[in-house]
Symmetry: C2
Subunit: 199 residues, 2 copies
């Protein structure tokens, strides 16, 4: 059975999975989901993910939700030790940044973009403040290193880059942050890189 | 050198680390942080975690932030395959629930409690709606299983339980959700379990 990704082209979270699959040459069928009609909130998709969100990933009997959990799966299954190492320290360092993507960037860049681009009702001023704070922290962190952790790209970079890169769609461009801009540029130059709309 | 946890007794995120250390008998020095005076926003702590939050965990040269990344570290270093298995599918299933703790429960129960107990300025009605939604999903999910994933307790349970268990401090008690209540009870009966204030 072929693997499936329930997908939406404008979703940064779906894009994270598409990007890692491209970089690792993992063959996946993309199944477009009609978010506008609320397909993710109804059967059959709500039966695959009670949280009513995409991406959802299927590999035979295994059904996974949450972009970052899916990145973990793909990295562990097809990436060897490269994209998510299993030693305690390295794995924890990568995980730190998965959590920044799931929390700070989600409440910052992703929320601001959901407001501006998709009309979500939320406090966009607060979201932009959070986004700016993350950018400032990331810029300092990246000033003397090429990747968020370790000496190579990992799923930490894949998780954090997309909503930063399309942050301008929520009024939070990354251009004023030179180390962040250089890092985004570095990811774009990885072999087999694919982009997403707005990037 | 002894390991250190920069800690606050009322923080559910710090408690997650204390609980896993207790369950695995990992010796750690707890360093109380005076959150009221803003010690986490100043040197020396801000130099350890630019996000200005605790817990922070030190093991010799390694400095870790984010409770869930710290759980990953402790589970990998002292828990063998029990608390965070390394096969792709199991690790991803555990990670899904770490992400629910980092996102949905954080925006739900934890935010509502921050508002009610610590005076944080935020939309508490929305936070309680999110908390109730998570409880409803968890209750269905736990109706026919003992643990969030796999056939045993993992760091998924450790990550999700604390803010659910003290949810009443934010106006979101778990008592109306029988499967959630049974699950919290199961965790409390684990050998070497320790609680936190309000639990």
């Amino acid at each position: 059975m072929v693997m499936k990704l329930y997908d939406f082209d404008l979703s940064g979270n779906c894009y994270k999975v598409r990007l890692l699959c491209a970089l690792l040459n993992v063959p996946v069928d993309f199944v477009p989901v009609d978010l506008k009609s609320g397909a993710h909130k109804r059967s059959p998709l709500i039966d695959l993910n009670a949280f009513g969100q995409i991406p959802i990933f299927e590999d035979n009997e295994l059904i996974l939700r949450d972009s970052h959990a899916i990145l973990v799966y793909i990295a562990r299954k097809w990436g060897g030790e490269a994209w998510l190492p299993t030693d305690a320290g390295s794995m924890a360092l990568v995980t730190q940044w998965l959590m920044v993507a799931e929390n700070e960037i989600s409440r910052g860049q992703a929320d601001a973009r959901r407001h501006d681009k998709f009309g979500a009702q939320l406090d966009v001023v607060e979201a932009r403040e959070k986004a700016t704070r993350v950018l400032s922290i990331m810029d300092k962190h990246l000033a003397d290193r090429d990747w968020l952790v370790l000496d190579r790209p990992t799923i930490a970079d894949i998780a954090c880059m997309p909503y930063v890169a399309v942050g301008w769609e929520g009024g939070v461009p990354f251009d004023p942050y030179p180390a962040v801009a250089a890092w985004v540029g570095r990811i774009k130059k990885l072999p087999h890189f694919v982009g997403m709309p707005g990037m």
